[in-house]
């Protein structure tokens, strides 16, 4: 799966799972500050990523995620290793 496809699916998940507005989501957007996603919401997103992309994201790596782009990058790395 290429980067653009991962980003597209990630945006779909943010809209479907966390109820975000599609127009608000950019790759630079920070979850907590810009998108008003609380810390539990970030954990839920990572769970959804694991389920939808069939990857395993360890807690240590999950804790470093602050922006949408970082989440996409992490999934991309997991899929290509």
């Amino acid at each position: 799966m290429d980067k653009a496809a991962i980003e597209g699916k990630l945006v779909d998940l943010l809209v479907d799972e966390l109820g975000l507005e599609r127009d608000d989501i950019t790759m630079e957007a920070r979850f907590e500050e810009d998108l008003d996603v609380d810390s539990l919401g970030v954990v839920e997103l990572l769970m959804a990523l694991e389920d939808n992309f069939d990857v395993k994201i360890p807690d240590e790596e999950a804790e470093k995620i602050t922006t949408v782009g970082e989440a996409a990058e992490l999934v991309s790395q997991k899929l290509n290793t």
Binding site: D38, L40, E44, M47
Partner: protein, 249 residues
């Protein structure tokens, strides 16, 4: 609006005997599929499953030490495979190892904290993923009146049970926005194997101090748990319901 009670998958830790067994039986009569966890007594677990099945319910027995992270993970995987994702978790497993504090061995402290408190952390954490996905869940922790008002000779047990109550309030705040409630039920002196070990004299003394004048029955604790698990209790979270016949008033 009439609250609707769907059939769900429930796990009762320490569910083969005593209060846990009564809770499993009640949840089964409410239409839930019940996983009965136990650690050592195979025949008691089989009997508990058979009793539920004889009543037309669905139950499985799952053997696991709930104080062990790996064992809890394996247990959750087994339940998920056989019944589905857990939506009602009853953290009931508990042990006592009573002694005056001055004589209490570190092992007695560690064992009681591990089985009564660490298990609540491990099982709740493991069951939460499914509840978050479902946007619905009930976690009901069995505390004790010892954790509310203390009990001489039970510093370890009272500390663990008071810990359970603090855990209950904290987790309730953490996940309340996701439709998951977390509550505790604190039994007083209930007639089970655990209290029978104290002897008849101790039971008679206890009964004389209880407002209702008698020990409680496991079913009387189970009914409070059944209520908290139901749709009718949808607006209750972070609470501890004391079921002690008025012992602590």
């Amino acid at each position: 609006m009439v609250a609707h009670n769907a059939s769900r998958v429930a796990l009762v830790t320490g569910g083969s005997r005593g209060i846990g067994r009564a809770i499993g039986e009640l949840l089964a009569t409410q239409g839930h599929q019940v996983a009965i966890n136990y650690v050592s007594n195979d025949s008691a677990a089989s009997e508990a499953v058979a009793a539920i099945e004889a009543n037309g319910g669905t139950a499985i027995a799952v053997k696991a030490d709930v104080g062990d992270e790996g064992a809890v993970a394996a247990m959750m995987a087994q339940i998920e495979e056989q019944l589905g994702s857990i939506e009602i978790l009853v953290n009931n497993a508990g042990v006592t190892s009573d002694d005056l504090l001055l004589r209490m061995k570190p092992e007695a402290w560690d064992t009681v904290i591990r089985t009564n408190l660490k298990s609540v952390y491990l099982c709740s954490k493991a069951a939460l993923r499914g509840m978050l996905r479902a946007r619905w869940g009930r976690i009901i922790n069995i505390g004790s009146i010892a954790g509310v008002s203390g009990n001489a000779g039970q510093a370890n047990y009272a500390a663990a049970k008071a810990g359970v109550i603090g855990f209950t309030m904290s987790l309730a705040k953490e996940i309340g926005s996701r439709g998951i409630t977390v509550n505790a039920v604190a039994p007083g002196f209930i007639a089970t194997d655990m209290t029978a070990a104290l002897g008849e004299d101790a039971a008679a003394v206890a009964a004389s101090q209880i407002t209702l004048g008698r020990l409680g029955r496991p079913e009387e604790v189970a009914s409070a748990v059944g209520f908290l698990a139901s749709a009718e209790a949808s607006y209750i979270t972070g609470q501890t319901i004391v079921v002690d016949g008025g012992l602590a008033i």
